[in-house]
Amino acid sequence: MSDAGLRSMVGISLSKRIQATVFALTLSSYLIGLVLIGLPLREMTVRSLYGEAEREVSALAAALQDHALLRDYPAIEQTLLQRVTGSNIQRASFKMGSVLLDKRAPQQKSRYPDWFARVIAIASPEVRADIHLGGVNYGTVSLVQGAQSAIQNLWTLVVKFTVLIVFGMVLVSCLLRRVLKANLGGLYDLQRAANAFEGANFTVRLPLTENSPPEIQQTKLAFNHMADKLGNLLTTLERKQEDLYNEKERLRVTIESIGDAVVVTDAQGCIEFINPRALELAGLELDEALGRQVADAIPMVNEDSGAAVTSPIELALRRNTVIAIDNHTAIARADGSRVSIRDTAAPIRSPTGQVQGGVLVFQDETERRKLMQRLAWQAERDHLTGLCNRREMENLMTTALRAVHDQARKFIFCYMDLDQFKLVNDTCGHRGGDALLQRLAAILTDRVSAPQHHLARLGGDEFGILFSDTSLSDAITVVQGIRDEIVRFRFEWESQIFRLGVSFGVTEIQTTMRDIGEILSQADTACYHAKSQGGNAIQVYEHTHPALRKITDEMQWVVVITRAFEERRFVLYRQKVVSLNPAISTQHYEVLLRMRSEDGETVAPGELLPAAERYGLAPSFDRWVIRNLLAYLDTHPHDTACYAINLSGRSLSDPAFTDFILDTLNQHNVDPTRLCFEITETAAINNLAECERLILSLKSRGIYFALDDFGKGQSSFGYLQRLPVKYLKIDGEFVRGIDHKPENFAITKAIHTLAHELDKLTIAEQVETETELACIKRLGVDFVQGYLLHAPEPIPMGDGIAYPEPRSARSPQAAAN
């Protein structure tokens, strides 16, 4: 079929096309059949016509033989007439000499159309026959055989054939329609389903009918499978689209709500999107930003130099890479203000890598940079005083030490410690203490104003001064000026006036020093010594100075003590505390700690304890003593005496110490009322609040407390109201010589009287002579203690009791824990 023929069929349904094709084929077959059948039939008809004519003329000749022989012309005429009547003979004639008899059949109207006769073109044959009898011709018979009947027969045949074909075509058409309807129904179902799909109805599925052809079945099945897959795909797509929309919304809301400023540009750097944060930071309105170049809308400058900075988005677009702006960039807003920013610009690439635009993200760095500056400042400054802090001082000292080594420069380090700061802090509270420190810092800053010198607050009331490129004498001059001013200084706080003392330890940084620890140690040692001088002293560290040497030796004790712990060379001693009150019959002891030297000698506690207290080993001793004493009492039930244990000030400030005591007590079957903890007056005052909590907690379990060395420090009777101790141990300084020193007697008497007034018992320490004992008795002191009455003795731990292993071989503290 030609293209024109195909185009003419556009819009015609498949069913009609098939029907038209079948119709055309049938029609063609009809015409071809008509030709193929008609032509031979025509020839046969012509032959038949001639044959019939021959037969007719023969028959007519035979019929006329007798008449011709008899010369019975009327009979011949009659016969001719009969032959042409009611037959297909159009004309019959007989000629005999001059006799001519001619008969014609009446003209009959044909029942076939003239065009058919013209098409079929069958002529009426004319035949002749002579009548010969015995060699004599009796005439000639001629006959025209009419073709009308034959043509009529052919026409009838054609009509019947046509009717048959038409009937066949109608039948075929009906059958075809039925077949097409049955077979193409599935196709139309597919068409409807496809239209439904086109109309976004993705739920449509095709029913599988049994009588439809397998191709349609398979196509339907494939369609259903396709629809299922497409449905799933669409569901997934919708879900993903929804997710994408949600994600997009989330991103939009996020971008619009995040603290980061986001600017999206096209490939030329013109702003296409800008979030509210970016507008806020840039100081723009939306219509002022959109469509403008980023460099124009959001000009950037170096916040330090003020010089214009190339917009990072411009660089990112130009270089097709991510650009991170440095930390010194700021937005120069139209109102003249600047906003420090930190930002990143990145190109937006297409899948092919082509730059389609860029995104600029920046954050307001103003606060962060301020914070960083503040943190940096704080990192090296003391927040209270504004001075350098300990770390900064250590850095400076490290630099100085390196400079001493490398450049032969001179540096002097001075350690300064306030003598009465804790008193102010406890009396006036922390606010008062802080105010004092700030005042002092101002004084120091004023005094150490040279830029090469550095002033630092090293700890609570400790300060350090690093003098650079200064001689020792010049440094001491400055220090003396500081001391004098501090001495003159009067701190007033809520109508209270405090006078301060201060101690200075000065050391020169030497090339022999290995680290700053050595510098600090020397300065600290010198300061410690200066403090021991009664305050307001300045001590320059000297290797050869005996006192300093002693302090240095104390430091050596740390090593000794640690090793003794590892080698279990600590032992418990006890000294009786004798009751002078007849009503008190229970034996009392004070537990004492002794260390055996490596050669077995007992080391005096006067050497041991200061070092332990100074270097933080005392709490370990306290715990060790408590653990071992309770173990002893638990395993020696026959010993029903009461034991007093000394606690260091650091143990009092340990929040976990109370729990340690209670836990240890729970581990042993020991009556808590047999225990008493002795707290020095100084330690109690320095840790007043913690001490008060400790006493109250343990007192509730029946444990007693004694205030040791009472009267030695700057005690205040007011403390006794806050410290619910049972005993006051009168410092041995007042007890010694009580028999010949009236002031000692008076103080002891006052203390005893006060204690009794406060319903507390008194203990006199270090009673070493009978006269002293007599005086004490006369005063009515409840207990006495001293070598006169009982020299300390080892607690009989027995063979079954061994001192527990230290838990850590490194330090007594670890072992105690």
Partner: protein, 278 residues
């Protein structure tokens, strides 16, 4: 004699040359079908016409009676017949000029061989077929025998003798009155057997007769020509072919004859019991 005939022919020369003259109507008594009669006689007549120079044209009636009527009506010039010997017709003046050279004819009453009829009397009251009521051998002679035998039959006329034989063959009649020669030819041709209940005395077969207005000379010439057919090879072939058409074993020529040869016909008619149809 030969010289005489030559002279006769020469004298008739002008007549011979007059080829366009009206031919003589030569009637043939219907003994067979018209076509068979024409088939037999036309070659002979053509030959005679050619030889004699006297054109002869076959004329025949639908039936023997009609042919005889034509002769009586003067429509014929020559006739091959034996119907003109009855008393009235004899007076018309026809003369015998020749006859067919045969053994003569006899009248027979025949039945089929399987017929139960053995005698003529048994035919009394039964239908008997005859060619026509004018035939000599086929009617008068067998009817004469029947009447003389006292058998009063119901005559059925078939038109010619073979038709009467056909009726006998089909069983429509109990017997047939026939010319013995024609019957024998018929039986041989149709392969049937028959039984002769009665047979007459022999008579010459049909004679070629000339009407009175045929001159003697022409009569003789024509008779001579007929007689000489069998003497010439061409004539013999014609006679042979004609005999084959009729199923004869042997062809038959013509012999000279005169009225005397047929006097027994006239005698029969004088004494016959059969009513003469004239």
């Amino acid at each position: 004699m030969r010289i005489l005939w030559c002279a006769l022919i020469l004298s008739l020369g002008p007549a011979c040359h007059a080829a366009e003259r009206k031919p003589y109507a030569f009637g043939v008594l219907n003994q067979r079908s018209l076509q068979l009669t024409a088939t037999y006689w036309n070659p002979i007549l053509s030959y005679v016409s050619t030889r004699s120079g006297i054109p002869l044209e076959l004329h025949i009636g639908r039936t023997a009676n009609e042919t005889t009527d034509k002769a009586i009506a003067g429509q014929l010039d020559l006739a091959f017949t034996n119907h003109l010997f009855t008393p009235k017709r004899a007076r018309l003046g026809w003369r015998v000029i020749a006859r067919q050279d045969s053994k003569g004819i006899r009248g027979q009453v025949v039945v089929l061989n399987d017929s139960s009829i053995k005698t003529l009397r048994e035919l009394n009251g039964r239908p008997v077929a005859f060619a026509n009521p004018y035939g000599f051998a086929g009617y008068y002679l067998p009817m004469e025998a029947l009447m003389r035998a006292g058998a009063k039959v119901v005559p059925l006329f078939s038109g010619n003798q073979e038709a009467a034989m056909g009726q006998l063959l089909s069983g429509q009649v109990a017997a047939a009155g026939v010319n013995n020669q024609i019957m024998a030819d018929f039986a041989r041709r149709e392969n049937i057997t028959y039984r002769v209940l009665s047979e007459s005395a022999p008579y010459f077969d049909l004679a070629i007769m000339a009407s009175p207005h045929v001159s003697q000379a022409e009569g003789k010439l024509i008779a001579h020509t007929f007689i000489n057919i069998a003497r010439e090879p061409a004539g013999q072939r014609i006679l042979q072919q004609a005999a084959q058409r009729l199923g004869w074993d042997q062809w038959r020529g013509f012999a000279p004859a005169s009225n005397r040869d047929y006097a027994n016909y006239q005698q029969f008619f004088k004494r016959t019991l059969v009513p003469i149809n004239e």
